[in-house]
Subunit: 500 residues, 2 copies
Amino acid sequence: MAKNIVSMKKDYAQWYLDVIRAAGLADYSPVRGCMVIRPSGYAIWEAIRNELDERFRDTGHENAYFPIFIPESFMKKEAEHVEGFAPEVAVVTHGGGKKLEEPLFIRPTSETMIGAMYARWIQSYRDLPVLINQWANVVRWEMRTRLFLRTSEFLWQEGHTAHETRAEAEEETRRMLEVYRSFVQDELAIPVLAGEKTSTERFAGAEATYTIEGMMQDGKALQMGTSHFLGQNFARAFDIRFEGRDQKLQYAWTTSWGVSTRLIGALIMVHSDDNGLVLPPRVAPVSMAIIPIFKTSEELKQVRDFAMGMLGRLVGADELDKAQSRVSPEGRLTAFFDFHGKKKVVLDERDMRPGEKHYFWEQQGVPLRIEIGPRDVKSGSVVVKQRFGERLQIPAAEFTPEKARELLQTMQKGLFERAKAFREAHTYTAGTYEQLVATLRDKPGFVRVNFVPTPDVEARLKEETKATVRLILPPEEAQPGRDIFTGEQTDIQVIVAQSY
Amino acid sequence: MAKNIVSMKKDYAQWYLDVIRAAGLADYSPVRGCMVIRPSGYAIWEAIRNELDERFRDTGHENAYFPIFIPESFMKKEAEHVEGFAPEVAVVTHGGGKKLEEPLFIRPTSETMIGAMYARWIQSYRDLPVLINQWANVVRWEMRTRLFLRTSEFLWQEGHTAHETRAEAEEETRRMLEVYRSFVQDELAIPVLAGEKTSTERFAGAEATYTIEGMMQDGKALQMGTSHFLGQNFARAFDIRFEGRDQKLQYAWTTSWGVSTRLIGALIMVHSDDNGLVLPPRVAPVSMAIIPIFKTSEELKQVRDFAMGMLGRLVGADELDKAQSRVSPEGRLTAFFDFHGKKKVVLDERDMRPGEKHYFWEQQGVPLRIEIGPRDVKSGSVVVKQRFGERLQIPAAEFTPEKARELLQTMQKGLFERAKAFREAHTYTAGTYEQLVATLRDKPGFVRVNFVPTPDVEARLKEETKATVRLILPPEEAQPGRDIFTGEQTDIQVIVAQSY
């Protein structure tokens, strides 16, 4: 176990921070509640962004950018919305040396500004649907912050769409939830449950909120993405009206959906271990680190030639040439390898002991570490240490790009399976309220339980157990049973858990 | 000439706005001075970002993200810096319903916040260089705004680096200026002059500022990117110190450099015409629009089959399949074509007259419009209308991806050559102050002139001509001559022009 990382079992919250610090992912800034996302962390966000962006594009969305400032009066146009967000906004009162006539809120989310623009752009049913996404920073003033999970400023994407009919908007809401679900499972290797939120947990101003929820290694739930059906609430507030096919003026139906840098927190909490970060290969910015081991300068030369030969086979001669002309930090050579986009392969020739390099790359969560020493040169083989999986010895000629991709793909799948098995092992059922309370008290994890959620019973539950209804299971996944509060038979089954 | 675009000659400022509106690139928002970048405009920014990002990566830089908030006290640590930026900052005074203990500035630039973090991260010469770039929004409160050129909020990238020696930092400053110069010339097809700014025009807190300047079609100069050598000014203000190779504690040498969404304004003003936007193919999000022309449903079928065949040849069968399963706006099929990244090819089957589509894509600045009618199907040829260049009739079998790329590349080059010829035709020399004044009054453009810039003569020049020294020509490009103010012989030659 690494000395700079406390054991997950001993102190989960500290372990989480230790993993982040050891991998250099992020740092608290001098501004309360705001984080700095360091290059290793930001590269993960870029991998997430690039992949999601392609999925948004394939579902017909385009990116745009709207102002960070929202006039106070805009927020007030939708009553529930302002009630939900006003307590956590940051307010600009002065600009260019003068007091502003109207204070400006820094966007906590952009339904209002985008609604105002849609009202200008949408005149006729021919202008619909409008399918826009924005990558941006948002601010929600937080008292208790935790890197990636809850900070005053964070990065996210927010999709905002407008449609001709209720049915189309509802379909969009579900489509984007499915985009999130498949993205998180395929790319982040995190199994999630998808379903609707109760009215208590709904987005301020929405008619329905859908969520994907993952289980962290402490058994708590993390909300990883939400998709909202906004009905005509924002269209009425901002006068988004169009002339329909029947030539009558009518309000548009809108949706919004988002995921944030919180996903990096999920990645850490689902896959990492007491040795540090573990990253699923599809979003690991560095796929492979090559560590030469040598004692004499003669050995160095042999090992280096051997390593360069292997690198050339992995990335191709052209890319190796480019890599050699690329400016790199001292002692490191970075080439790019094709695996779900461009991933880095780093030849680490820094003036450090091999053991230090080993721990460095292990804590960075790099999927494959390849060690090459004089003995390997002689035997013509390489030792591949997998961040999740066995240590392998492979003839160098067989360590082809295809072989590397196969190892990475197998690791991706293995991480998903492990996380899924963990979730299944920590999911319980409860037939009575007493059982629910006892399970939540004794066993970290999710509890499947039958009841019809109402603000009253949810308040009682939270008060007595600190847990909440994470989602209402969709009909096809729900087992009917007796409502633990009323004793009536019901088709409604929910997931209850403590959460971040 | 398009009815919705005023002639450039008649009203240049209005022409600029008309081109933007006709292409749907941006819109003013309800917040004073802030713009909305619409999908067509944002896609250009993404093309710029992707290409620059690769050039930053190849010169060893990594991306990161720093907080948008800067404590007032941070800005005050560097005297010149706060003097330069304080008048135009937006100030947050309240957060989470409470008055803040210390007001927070919204970043107008991030030297101070990043300096504070570098002070934490940099301990030893082994930690250097630090080569970080950030893509972000910044706010500078502006009284007079103009879409893309000057808005209160804009998007940009800001590179911030720290080095062990003065020489390395100076080298970095020049390297990044060269990255900008070659990027703008290669990708945006805009010829620029590169050189140092005078002390009057220097970045607040820098020892030296270098700039690239382009000439717009009204003869005015536009500053398109700057690279600053900050000396040890910010290192002293933020205590960025490290133990050197000599084991002595010393201050780091820092640089910063940036370009912004202003580059989109440059693209418009350099290449567009009275028919609307003209985009250099390398940054045009849509490379080609295919417009079917038909009268009967029998013709429609023939034309459609022919168009799909051509599209399949251009993008490949796999991509055509994907395109057909992609969700697209009604009546449009979007496939992706490889030309300096992924560019769109749109088959436009909207229910509009072909003439309307023709103008639509012309005003969007799409490089190639391909019209296919029954006559073309019979003759087996396609008509290619180039946004800049001749109308071509090509046998369909010869309109291969290679041919399309060749046409696009030729157009890219042609646009650069045209802009360069324009600049050369509008660059003058002046041997006396009177000549300079007369030239600036009578002939829009740049004037090459010999004098040693000082705050006094620059103030006089600005007062009497509205023009400024855009840059000091580098020694290898400067012609020696007599200083127009002192009459002394000098090697210093500068470019004087009116500017945005």
